[in-house]
């Protein structure tokens, strides 16, 4: 069937915009690249620099604080298994990427969420943007990320942040909006400033909901970091990717299992933090 109208050159437009950005704002991208790369390297240096048994002990302690001794036991066995299978270093590389992506998501996401909760118009603009960020197939983010930042961990982290940040923004916004109206009234009636109301009433009450958002962000970051191995981010994702290309079932399973263990760990520990502080 012939087209009534010629196809809109949307792809060309996007390329023009991206080209323009790259030409004019190259130094900004370099700066971002250095900051993100530095953060990942720092986490990586800490996690792989420490002896593995010390890292395991630290994780077991965190799991114990967040949950019960069963969780601590699972952490101990799980991490020992990863070490035994020979995926320790790659796991720590993955963790460094996830932590960096999660950190950036939180640092940008929480203020954004607060802004959305305060301002109706901001929320109206941001909500569809978040929908877009979450529904666009994650692979698509890899393309501009490569363009601006080349191959490697930095574009991987950036794609992860785009993919992982929405829950933090959404649930921060939601958590603050769910604070009962009479508590807001009480806070106002005693003469609180906006900042006092935010820090003494809204954020503490929204904390559980916000932690659920941060938890989701971390989980999404993990899933995206694995995908990001396609553009050269190191870690467990690279092992899975290699196993897939070589149709190596055994290796694929091992690397996949390591990812699952990491996922459960991160999930339970962050969930535990949310619950404990609210008790």
């Amino acid at each position: 069937m012939s087209q009534l109208f010629p196809k809109l050159p949307l792809d060309e437009w996007i390329e023009v915009i991206v080209d323009g950005l790259d030409e004019n704002l190259g130094f900004v991208f370099d700066l971002i690249s250095a900051a993100i790369g530095g953060t990942v390297d720092l986490f990586n240096a800490i996690l792989t620099g420490l002896p593995f048994w010390l890292v395991i002990i630290l994780f077991v302690l965190m799991a114990y604080r967040a949950g019960r001794w069963t969780m601590a036991l699972f952490t101990f066995i799980g991490l020992l298994l990863i070490q035994n299978l020979g995926y320790w270093e790659h796991s720590m590389e993955t963790l460094a990427l996830v932590l960096t992506a999660a950190l950036i998501s939180v640092v940008i996401g929480i203020p954004m969420g607060i802004w959305c909760a305060k301002n109706e118009s901001v929320q109206k603009v941001v909500t569809p943007l978040l929908d877009f960020m979450q529904t666009m197939p994650a692979f698509v983010y890899l393309i501009p990320a490569i363009f601006f930042f080349g191959l490697g961990k930095v574009p991987g982290v950036i794609a992860s942040v785009i993919f992982a940040m929405p829950p933090t923004i959404r649930l921060t916004n939601l958590g603050i909006r769910q604070v009962p109206a009479d508590l807001i009234e009480a806070s106002d009636a005693f003469g609180s400033t906006y900042w006092q109301k935010l820090t003494k009433v809204q954020l503490p009450i929204a904390k559980t909901t916000m932690m659920a958002g941060i938890n989701q962000s971390i989980m999404l970051a993990l899933s995206m970091v694995v995908i990001a191995s396609m553009i050269g981010a190191k870690g467990l994702g690279a092992d899975v990717y290699r196993a897939v290309t070589q149709i190596n079932i055994g290796q694929g399973f091992e690397a996949g299992l390591a990812i699952v263990i990491m996922a459960i760990l991160l999930d339970r520990i962050t969930q535990g933090v949310g619950k404990r502080k609210n008790a």
Binding site: D182, F190, G191, T193, P204, N278
Partner: protein, 407 residues
């Protein structure tokens, strides 16, 4: 000079409220304005004065604008037009910063649903108003403690609000407002969410506190009994407008119009008094006790039946003296001899619906609140007493000595 002077205070809800103002001034009613403009008239040109040290009650049915009016006084809701002078200074024309200072120093507020901060201890709640004024920690905690002691909550400082009963939570609300040492207390249906018996306790305590502290109190309520009991003067509202202001005596004996008259008539007994007005405190027991304890309790209290409740005061059944004796002789548990077919009514059940039930029941009728919570019991004599004018108002709270009349 009056403490508070309110002049022609009007609030219109909706977009571009100004367009309804001319209509308000023409004296159109709430209904007419809604029809013509789609705007809701919340408060209609209210004017009144409140003197220092008086309890000024604003009363009306729900939707009459009384809660809006009290929120206009500290600008939780922005007035559309009018003046509010506190100590002669108009707060409507104040900027945000000046308003904050007035709220901090002069106006305390107590809320219907307590509005305590769940993540803060009782002490931290009471100290909130001082904390946001950046008072040093030791000093504000000292003052919050004094304030809590004043409302009878000494020793509960480290508890969290959800560990307290409704009545205690509202005491915290009151302590929080008092800690700031405000001249004016705004109390928005402060006791309406409490159980009837607790509500009466709180009214008494408020009056007692007021006799020693002499603050200016603006008290919102929908309950005429409450208004008559605590108000020095009462303003009656209808459809956003104040229809009469006067002392309780004036309002009762000299109603300004038909509306007030109907309101006041309703104080009249038979169709208006409900179960909560005539009920007495029930003697209760939990199921983890044995028959001997139950008998001892009955002897101590001089009653012939005990009401079995669980820890949440949910009514499970009733124990008669005969049944407990039987249990003791034959080694049965209380649960086995407990009667479960207890006659129950809600606190709002009117007296004329109670006659049959009370007359033909061999045990007192129980009054049940939400979630089957036992609020009190009604004995035969109390219904007659209620009709004769003896209701739970002033200090007719049943004491332990009175207990429960043997049926």
């Amino acid at each position: 000079m009056p403490k508070i002077t309110v002049e022609n205070l009007t609030k219109i809800f909706g977009r571009q409220p100004g367009r309804a103002l001319p209509l308000v001034k023409q004296g159109k009613t709430k209904g007419e304005i809604l029809k013509e403009t789609g705007l809701t008239l919340g408060v209609n040109q209210a004017s009144f004065e409140v003197h220092a040290g008086e309890i000024f009650v604003i009363m009306g049915l729900s939707g009459s604008g009384k809660s809006t009016l009290v929120r206009l006084l500290n600008r939780l809701i922005e007035p559309t037009e009018g003046k509010i002078l506190i100590d002669g200074v108009d707060i409507v024309s104040m900027n945000a910063e000046q308003l904050q200072q007035v709220r901090r120093k002069k106006l305390g507020m107590v809320f219907q649903k307590f509005a305590l901060f769940p993540h803060r201890t009782v002490l931290e709640n009471a100290a909130y108003g001082l904390e946001i004024q950046n008072m040093p920690k030791s000093e504000r905690e000292q003052r919050a403690k004094e304030s809590l002691t004043l409302v009878g909550l000494g020793g509960w400082e480290q508890s969290y609000p959800d560990q307290l009963s409704g009545g205690m939570q509202q005491r915290v609300g009151l302590a929080r407002a008092l800690a700031n040492d405000p001249d004016v207390l705004l109390m928005d249906e402060a006791f309406s969410a409490l159980d009837p018996l607790i509500r009466k306790d709180m009214q008494d305590e408020l009056l007692e506190l007021q006799s020693s502290m002499q603050r200016t109190i603006i008290f919102i309520t929908h309950d005429l009994d409450e208004a008559l009991k605590i108000g020095d003067r009462i303003a009656l509202m209808k459809d956003g407008a104040i229809v009469q202001i006067g002392t309780p005596e004036e309002i009762m004996t000299n109603p300004a119009n038909e509306y007030v008259e109907r309101f006041v008539e309703d104080v009249d007994r038979s169709k208006v008094l409900s179960a909560e007005h005539v009920m007495k405190r029930a003697e209760t027991i939990t199921l983890d006790r044995g028959p001997s304890v139950a008998l001892q309790l009955m002897r101590d209290r001089g009653v012939s039946s005990l009401y079995v409740v669980d820890r949440k005061k949910t009514l499970l059944g009733v124990l008669t003296a005969d049944a407990v004796n039987d249990a003791k002789m034959h080694g049965k548990t209380l649960e086995e001899v407990m009667r479960r077919d207890v006659p129950k009514v809600g606190p709002q059940t009117l007296l004329n619906e109670l006659f049959d039930l009370v007359a033909f029941s061999d045990i007192p009728v129980s009054v049940i609140g939400e979630h089957d919570r036992l609020l009190g019991i009604i004995v035969k004599g109390a219904v007659l007493g209620g009709l004769a004018g003896k209701v739970n108002q002033e200090s007719t709270l049943p004491t332990e000595e009175e207990g429960q009349v043997k049926v």
